[in-house]
């Protein structure tokens, strides 16, 4: 049963991740329904994300959706601080990680919700007859 859940949760977040919408963000709360402790969940999330990301990138590059200009301005600082973040995380308690992740999810979820709803209302505004 547990194996089925890993595959199912992986698949759902893979679909979202393949669309570049943050599948990793989704996989963590889904995996919290399994028996894995928080730090192991985060580690599984990272490890499983790598091959998916590489595969999805090939598809997107073929469709001309990947913009490489200036990308190093993002990659270099991000990589440096990713190592710092991971280093801090492996020393933190599961409870702290879980709580911070939950707050992060709520923040991102609310932000996404506001964006979707405001885009919807802008669309309605645009088609309204004058």
């Amino acid at each position: 049963m547990e194996i089925f859940l890993y595959i199912l949760f992986g698949f759902i977040s893979g679909v979202i991740g393949g669309m570049g919408m943050g599948g990793g963000t989704l996989l963590t709360p889904l995996l919290s329904f399994t028996r894995l402790p928080q730090r192991a969940v985060q580690a599984v999330n990272l490890v499983s994300f790598l091959p998916m990301c590489a595969t999805a990138l090939i598809f997107h590059a073929r469709h001309g959706l990947v913009e490489k200009a200036h990308i190093l301005w993002i990659v270099l600082p991000a990589v440096a601080f990713a190592a710092v973040g991971a280093w801090v995380a492996v020393g933190a308690s599961d409870g702290v990680l879980r709580c911070i992740y939950a707050l992060f999810l709520l923040g991102v979820g609310m932000w996404q919700l506001v964006r979707v709803l405001s885009a919807d209302s802008e669309k309605k505004e645009a088609v309204r007859p004058r």
């Binding site: 991971a86 911070i100 885009a119």
Partner: protein, 121 residues
Amino acid sequence: MRLTAKDKWILTIFSAAAGFVNGFLGGGGGVIVVALLLAVMKLHQKSAQATALLAVLPLSAVSAAVYIVKGSVQWAPALWTTLGVVAGGILGALLLDKLKGNVVKLIYALVLIAGGIKMLL
């Protein structure tokens, strides 16, 4: 496009934040990177989402390496999850070019909020 000095500062600071979040929480940096690509580099939504993967791949690799070295990875769950993620990832990549997006985004937002509440309880 040309980046101004201010753009470069914004990219550097927020990318560092995205990297830290991704390493500390094991994910989530992509959301910040997408926002940066939309706001600073003025990419279209689909292009921003695709390009974010290019930025997030190396920082996830570095974060994963730290978790692996520190022995935090449980390999059997990682293997099964990866299987699902790769299959879903291929489908998601194919769908990005076809979906309108707003319904998916709405469901995604609600799932994130529900997940956050569940994790707090």
